[in-house]
């Protein structure tokens, strides 16, 4: 399959993620959309790795290692992020980010 298909699929997934972050109000769903963005990146990274390997680059596997780093960092972010969301939920019994407008006053 040509690499263009993967590029289009990844960009569509990435844009769904971006739209979700911008439009949804629930912190958990925003968080899931961020994860969707990261996974779109992972998919694209692996596709590019295959593309450059086919083009004869010997170090193309580096991109696949990069994907593992993204996964690990995403896991670290989940650990911190879910803890923060739980903390906010305990305070306000809600994970709706509209409550954050309180900060402005």
């Amino acid at each position: 399959m040509p690499v263009q298909y993967y590029i289009f699929l990844s960009i569509v997934l990435f844009c769904i993620g971006v739209m979700g972050v911008l439009m949804r109000r629930n912190a958990i769903i925003i968080f899931m959309c961020v994860e969707l963005m990261l996974n779109a990146v992972n998919l694209l990274m692996v596709a590019f790795s295959k593309m450059w390997a086919d083009a004869g680059r010997v170090d193309a596997a580096g991109a696949q290692i990069f994907v593992f780093f993204i996964m690990v960092v995403a896991a670290a972010e989940v650990a911190v992020g879910l803890a923060i969301i739980v903390m906010v939920y305990r305070k306000s019994q809600s994970v709706d980010i509209n409550i954050m407008n309180r900060l402005k006053n």
Partner: protein, 458 residues
């Protein structure tokens, strides 16, 4: 490399210190000792570098520039620990963990000053960001702190996603992550690479809080415990700027491509200067004013990113030092007061003359008055832009904005010296704190008279 390893180790040591040391004040002393060891380890590497730089495994390049920047970051953090270290104890129970997180952020900053691979850029930005989410939410008593943390976390991880997409697209165009081998923009422009660079510029603008990606900054800085705001707005911001400069000056210098991102970033700079300065004028709280002032100062630091020459590198070094030290000083004084509004400073010159004089020096440095470090910092970044040519309109705008900034900075001085009032302090001002403030103010003036002390080291 020494700095990277030793800061990470110091972070682990601090976490264990929390287990074994019960007395909170002793934890602060352990942290200061650890930071001194880290600084010495960093400077010790200077003699081992031959020929300007040394690359480790194609991932990290240690150079004189990176060691000098690390030294500035550690020095500013040392001042921060000495001035505000006791405020850590009032945030919450886990004092040692806060210090550990600060050390982990520092290790991210050392990575940001020495990466030579896009993978390390990503890791540096993340190591800087994730501990900040925790620090922002560390005060569990107020809902404001946890909301600031949630907001920062959602915005930060969103911008990380954008950063990663940018890196991936650049990889698709270039086939390597090594920033010296990218070789973009020398031939025809690859549209993938251009998209990647634009996404990277957006993501890093988020991290350094440049407009129009600044909207999280005032809320997060206002909601976080003041002692951590002071760190996030100074050392961390300078560290993010070093990452910004190193990637754009190191990898995207091809003549065909640099014109594109320079235009984009000069618009970002203009927006940052205008929004930062004009909004700061209307603030009533000094803490919030400093948050907007940090946006405005980011606008000046962006000049060093846009203009690629020797003055830009010198300028960012000087700016990082001048801005960090002065802002840490103002925050340290603000933290001692009960009332964070401008009115809270009324009459400070009569009750606490030392605090008032030093605050006046810090504020003058932020405004860029001659004989303070801030003047030469602004002078160098603007000279860099003039040398670059075709950015004269931006320089004129910056000078006008610096004039506006004098208004809101001098409001603090007017409140302290020309208004009557009884400023209430949270606690007794100790002699040691005053001595530290005077030393910090002396550093600001010393750098303002002899900027060569720092610049000749590059």
């Amino acid at each position: 490399m020494n700095a990277l390893i030793s800061t990470a180790l110091a972070g682990v040591v601090m976490m264990f210190a929390g287990l074994f040391i019960r007395n909170k004040q002793h934890i602060k002393f352990v942290a200061i000792a650890a930071l001194l060891i880290v600084s010495v380890a960093n400077l010790a590497e200077l003699s081992t570098i031959e020929g300007g730089s040394r690359t480790v495994l194609g991932m990290v390049t240690v150079s004189h520039f990176s060691i000098l920047f690390n030294a500035i970051a550690f020095g500013a953090t040392l001042i921060y620990f000495l001035l505000s270290g006791s405020a850590f104890e009032k945030v919450g129970e886990h004092v040692a963990d806060y210090f550990a997180l600060v050390f982990f952020i520092l290790s991210g900053i050392t990575l940001a000053s020495s990466f030579s691979n896009l993978l390390m850029l990503f890791l540096a930005i993340e190591i800087i960001s994730i501990p900040q989410y925790i620090l922002a939410g560390s005060n569990k008593r107020t809902p404001k702190s946890s909301e600031a943390s949630l907001k920062y976390f959602l915005m930060g991880s969103f911008s990380t996603g954008i950063l990663l997409m940018g890196i991936t697209l650049i990889y698709g165009a270039a086939g390597t992550f090594n920033i010296e081998e990218l070789g973009l923009g020398n031939g025809d422009i690859n549209p993938l690479a251009l998209c990647g660079i634009i996404l990277l510029a957006f993501a890093l603008s988020f991290k350094v809080s440049a407009a129009p990606f600044h909207f999280w900054t005032p809320d997060v800085y206002d909601g976080s415990p003041t002692v951590f705001t002071s760190f996030m707005a100074t050392v961390v911001k300078a560290g993010s700027f070093i990452a910004f400069i190193r990637i754009f000056h190191g990898a995207f210098t091809g003549t065909n491509i640099s014109a594109h991102w320079q235009l984009l970033l000069s618009l970002v700079t203009a927006a940052t200067l205008l929004i930062g300065n004009f909004t700061a004028v209307f603030q009533q709280s000094v803490k919030r004013m400093l948050a907007y002032s940090s946006i405005a100062q980011a606008g000046f630091m962006l000049f060093a990113v846009i203009s690629m020459n020797k003055y830009a590198t010198q300028g960012i070094i000087l700016y990082a030092a001048a801005y960090s030290v002065a802002t840490i000083g103002v925050f340290a004084v603000t933290m001692k007061l009960k009332d964070y509004t401008f009115d809270g400073f009324n009459g400070l010159a009569r009750t606490q003359p030392v605090l008032a004089v030093t605050t006046a020096i810090f504020v003058c440095s932020l405004a860029g008055i001659p004989l303070t470090a801030g003047f030469f910092a602004k002078y160098f970044v603007l000279t860099a832009a003039v040398q670059q040519g075709n950015l004269l309109w931006l320089v004129v705008l910056a000078v006008l904005c610096a004039a506006i900034s004098a208004y809101y900075y001098f409001r603090v001085i007017i409140a302290m010296y020309f208004k009557q009032g009884e400023p209430a302090t949270k606690e007794e001002i100790t002699g040691g704190f005053k001595v530290m403030l005077v030393i910090t103010a002396a550093i600001v003036i010393l750098l303002g008279v002899f900027p060569g002390l720092l610049l000749n080291l590059i």
